[in-house]
């Protein structure tokens, strides 16, 4: 089937920052995004797990955004402004999508 080159950007970020990140993505005019729950993790700031939480303060989510390659830089810059001072991770992969008109 006909596919089209795109970029898959996966941003792992604290749950308290989710709405700020998706606002930034919308400003960067992405066509959409998908939010996945995160159960736990580990990094420089230590280990955590969802069942060890009384609050959202340490929980994280993963925001996945598929975009046209030429829009990647805009997106990364917008996302970075939000992510910069916070813990979290941005990871970009090449991908092929069906129905490119959607992106």
């Amino acid at each position: 089937m006909q596919t089209h080159k795109a970029k898959r950007v996966e941003i792992t970020i604290e749950a308290v920052m989710q709405s700020r990140l998706t606002e930034a993505l919308k400003k960067a005019e992405v066509s959409g995004y998908t939010v996945l729950p995160v159960l736990g993790g580990s990094g420089r700031s230590g280990e955590w797990s969802r069942s060890g939480q009384v609050s959202r303060a340490q929980g994280m989510v993963q925001v996945v955004c598929i975009i046209r390659p030429e829009r990647l830089d805009d997106l990364l810059e917008s996302a970075f402004e939000v992510v910069e001072r916070y813990i979290g991770m941005v990871c970009v992969t090449d991908c092929d999508v069906l129905r490119a008109e959607r992106f």
Binding site: V54, Q58, I87
Partner: protein
């Protein structure tokens, strides 16, 4: 003294405290016992709703006191004031950075609603009445401490960096789920009164203590896990602060309660609120506003040190003092 001891013993051997202890021990022993996040959140919704509703009904029953407004005001002032005291103590007693100290201070100005709930159930067990609107005071004390802490930091920063508090964060803090639920339930209780309570009391009154047991079991698991994993961040200074600060806070609460002429229960609850430290609303706000502050420090202090201290020794102490000084 005798009363303190007997209250403390009764308290320590109540199912509620033993459940908390079970949770801590299970976590320290690395058991995989855990509550699903959804269940924990469901229980906290239940507790907030029940405590808010009952507070509202009690206000509807006793009429709106003249002191209600003054109590709210006192709560706001205390919440805004205590971070400064905490900050000063932290700078004196510990080697924490300004940033970490401010973040910790915010927690101690704000309140722990579960400590409040546990205190109400101790009061009930001892047959001591309290003003129903103390629930509203609790809600009022959640947020002001955050502003004080941010002010402390922005004052220190000196540059344009003081825009850490934006309107979005402000709205998130003021309208966070716990406050809205607590205040909303309080108002519903106030509107429907005893008649409304009669309809739902077998839901929000009878099973209350039991749900609180399970909830504290979960809190124990979380606190224990925190201590196991992050306990190392607690050097003696912060540790001492975690026990001293609730005592200092409770003294201010005592003063406020006596000045306002509250009942024995009301004074005790004011002490509890001032002595308790937040671990829900404030940590979330700190992650947004002061991401560079180390969450291990403030979470471990508030949830791993001060919460257990208040739950086990603090509450009976505050109740005993309030009883003694109000002749209750």
């Amino acid at each position: 003294m005798d009363q303190i001891l007997s209250l403390a013993t009764t308290n320590l051997l109540s199912p509620i405290i033993l459940c908390f202890v079970l949770g801590v021990l299970a976590a320290l022993a690395r058991s995989d016992l855990s509550f699903p996040e959804a269940v924990a959140k469901g229980m906290s919704i239940y507790l907030l709703f029940a405590i808010g509703f009952k507070g509202g009904v009690s206000v509807a029953d006793h009429g709106i006191d003249l002191t209600l407004g003054l109590s709210l005001l006192a709560g706001i002032v205390l919440s805004a004031l205590l971070p400064f005291i905490a900050f000063f103590l932290l700078q004196t007693m510990t080697g924490l950075s300004r940033l970490d100290a401010a973040a910790v201070a915010a927690h101690y100005g704000s309140i722990s609603i579960v400590t409040f709930v546990a205190a109400t159930s101790v009061l009930e067990g001892s047959g001591i009445a309290a003003e129903g609107y103390m629930v509203a005071v609790a809600a009022a004390m959640e947020a002001p401490a955050i502003l004080s802490a941010l002010w402390l930091i922005s004052r220190g920063a000196g540059d344009g960096d003081d825009r850490r508090m934006d309107s979005t964060l402000m709205r998130e803090i003021m309208l966070n789920g716990s406050i809205v639920l607590l205040v909303g339930a309080f108002m519903i209780g106030g509107i429907t009164g005893a008649e409304g309570l009669a309809k739902i009391d077998s839901f929000i009154v009878s099973p209350f203590q039991g749900v609180l047991c399970l909830f504290l079991l979960d809190m124990g698991l979380v606190a224990g896990r925190g201590l196991r994993e992050e306990g190392a961040v607690l050097r003696p200074g912060p540790l001492a602060f975690g026990v001293l600060m609730p005592l200092v806070g409770s003294a201010f609460g005592l003063g406020a309660g006596l000045l306002l002429g509250l009942s024995t229960g009301g004074v005790a609850l004011f002490m509890v609120l001032s002595a308790s430290a937040s671990y829900i609303a404030v940590p979330a706000a700190m992650r947004v506003a002061l991401p560079e502050a180390n969450p291990s420090i403030y979470l471990t202090l508030s949830l791993g040190v001060t919460f257990p201290f208040n739950l086990t020794l603090g509450i009976p102490l505050y109740v005993a003092i309030a009883s003694a000084l109000t002749g209750g």
